[in-house]
């Protein structure tokens, strides 16, 4: 039987899914063990047990100075920035995407400009950003926006352009104005794609958030990682990395579920 037709059973499939995770864990444990047996105070690959106890400490013990649990404070600070940045980008991306997609004049004006903007590496512009937007929360949110907005605009406007012309014409024959076409035909059909696009841009958003926090912040997940990197506190870094990964995963999954639940009409059940 051809390989492409050989399917694993349910139990074997579950085993296969778990396999690479287990292998990665074992490989890490062995690597850590080798380094630790050579140098017991090696910090690079802390033993899994060390990471666990560090994680427990981070999650439960309040900071002596501020009496707060830094881990949750960092998480909260980062999440607020991330959600603000992504939320504002999603909103602007939708509005500008609709305008570009629907109105030929706006399209002529902005499409080329946004295409060029999307090629600018935002990290290189950090100094200017910080000057213009200050060093407060705003600049971090703005970096996220600058980083993902051009992509969102391009993606969403091209989706608006993909709406069959027939549908727009149909709406026109029903007496719809440009405004009604925007809010009742284009916008609702854009929504599932918006969620898709937001899912795709969450990765870059985290990246920009971490980069911004590395340079100017006094709390946040990225800030903490860069702070303790100076001491190579890999147990803390790994805890934070695992946490960020988990957060990213949950967000992605949540958006996927939301998309399925909120837009039943995207499923072709025939």
């Amino acid at each position: 039987m051809r390989l492409i037709n050989q399917k694993p059973g349910v139990a074997f499939a579950a085993f296969l899914t778990a396999l690479p995770f287990a292998l990665a864990l074992i490989a890490y444990a062995i690597g850590s063990d080798i380094r630790l047996s050579a140098n017991p105070s090696d910090k690079l690959l802390p033993a899994p047990s060390t990471i666990l106890s560090t994680a427990e400490r981070l999650l439960t013990e309040p900071d002596k100075r501020s009496e707060q649990i830094l881990f949750w404070k960092d998480t909260w600070a980062s999440l607020v920035r991330l959600l603000l940045g992504v939320g504002i980008s999603a909103f602007l991306g939708t509005v500008v995407g609709l305008l570009i997609g629907l109105l030929p004049h706006v399209r002529s004006t902005l499409a080329g400009f946004v295409a060029v903007l999307s090629m600018i590496p935002p990290l290189a512009l950090l100094p200017i950003l910080f000057i213009v937007f200050g060093l407060g929360e705003l600049s971090k949110v703005v970096l996220i926006i600058i980083g993902i907005l051009p992509f969102l605009i391009r993606d969403l406007s091209s989706r608006v352009l993909e709406i069959p012309r027939e549908m727009i014409v149909k709406a026109e024959t029903l007496g719809a104005t440009s405004w009604v076409i925007a809010i009742r035909v284009a916008l609702p059909q854009l929504m599932p794609r918006l969620i898709q696009a937001v899912r795709l841009s969450l990765g870059p958003a985290w990246l920009f958030l971490i980069a911004a926090e590395a340079i100017a912040a006094d709390q946040g997940l990225g800030y903490r990682i860069f702070l303790v990197r100076r001491y190579l506190a890999m147990d803390v870094i790994l805890t934070y990395v695992i946490w960020i990964t988990a957060l990213a995963f949950v967000m992605d999954w949540g958006l996927r579920v939301l998309s399925r639940k909120a837009f039943p009409w995207t499923e072709s059940t025939l």
Binding site: I131, D218, R230
Partner: protein, 327 residues
């Protein structure tokens, strides 16, 4: 112009930790209230960014070294005054190798934060054995945040960096310190610099800053463990670690000592050396015709460099007030 709200930036470094304590303990607010102003002290993760921000006008003052002040704000045309001479590095910056001596660096690459005081220290270290940077296999710009990890890789033979990284790296049994800032005492100076114009228009700003600073210096000199512990933790280490870093820092707890150092005869020599180093690396900008392009003024009114383009001033007025108990 006159104003009542001021912002200063600082970044984490052993000699600047008091700034964080000033803000969290309320001592800064106390002194600001005394002079009827408001001073906000902002911590910035990235040292260079904090100086850039100051240069661009986002802050009225910033913690910086003498060298970076000369190259960034002064070189950028922002007339800047050293309000507080806090300390000089006395072993905090070091050249560390895996084996060999300075002469053995010949033909090897060195990892450091390029164009920083580390770079300057390396130049001075090579001077001391009659070598030049071109004798090396180049320098590799390496972020300070990754210096420890970098030293742990096989590619890296030598690094130049500062504390607390130095002490972490030296924990590695293979690491040897070849040269450190105690070999060139008084050349790497940690300052609080402020905009000259702002200071001139608002003497209250200078008074509040200096007054608050020396109150904390008093606590530190007295060995107040609670204060030191708080600074230690803010810098990500513990009390013992922080004390070890302080040991290689020549803190001027006493304003009189700071005044004396600033008025000392060695400072102009140091600044000329630094200016030459900066010019040599092209850091003073392509517009700079010579190392003398930027003028530096000393407490006695003497200048080095271009007297017509003085952008960096060492001013002991406020520290003297503190020494005199006049604040």
């Amino acid at each position: 112009e006159e104003k009542t709200e001021f912002k200063v930036a600082w970044s984490i470094y052993v000699g600047w930790m008091p700034w964080g304590y000033l803000e969290t303990s309320g001592i800064m607010d106390k002194w600001a209230d005394k002079y009827g102003i408001d001073v906000e002290i902002v911590q910035i993760n990235d040292y260079v960014e904090s100086i850039n921000q100051y240069t661009a006008g986002a802050f009225d003052g910033v913690s910086a070294t003498n060298m970076d002040t000369l190259s960034i704000p002064s070189g950028g045309g922002v007339d800047t005054t050293a309000l507080i001479v806090g300390d000089f590095s006395n072993g905090n910056d070091a050249v560390i190798v895996k084996d060999g001596d300075l002469a053995a660096l010949k033909g090897k690459p060195v990892n450091l934060v390029e164009l920083s005081v580390s770079h300057y220290l390396l130049a001075r270290a090579l001077d001391s054995v009659g070598m030049k940077e071109s004798d090396l296999d180049g320098v590799i710009n390496t972020s300070d945040a990754d210096m420890i990890a970098a030293f742990a890789t096989d590619d890296v033979e030598a690094v130049v960096t500062w504390n607390p990284l130095v002490s972490s790296i030296l924990e590695d049994p293979s690491a040897t310190k070849l040269f450190d800032s105690s070999d060139i005492p008084g050349e790497i100076i940690d300052l609080m610099v402020v905009n000259t114009e702002t200071l001139a228009d608002n003497p209250a700003f200078g008074k509040a800053m200096v007054g608050a600073w020396y109150e904390v210096m008093g606590l530190m000199a007295a060995g107040d463990e609670a204060v030191l512990t708080e600074m230690a933790e803010a810098s990500g280490t513990d009390l013992a670690g922080y004390k070890a870093q302080l040991a290689s820092t020549e803190m001027f707890y006493d304003p009189a000592a700071a005044v004396a150092f600033t008025k000392g005869a060695d400072l102009p020599t140091t600044m000329v050396n630094v200016a030459e180093f900066l010019f040599d690396k092209g850091i003073l900008g392509e517009g700079a015709p010579s190392a003398d392009f930027v003028g530096v003024e000393y407490p006695d009114g003497a200048t080095s460099g271009d007297a017509g383009n003085v952008k960096f001033r060492f001013d002991t007025t406020y520290m003297q007030m503190a020494a005199d108990g006049a604040l």
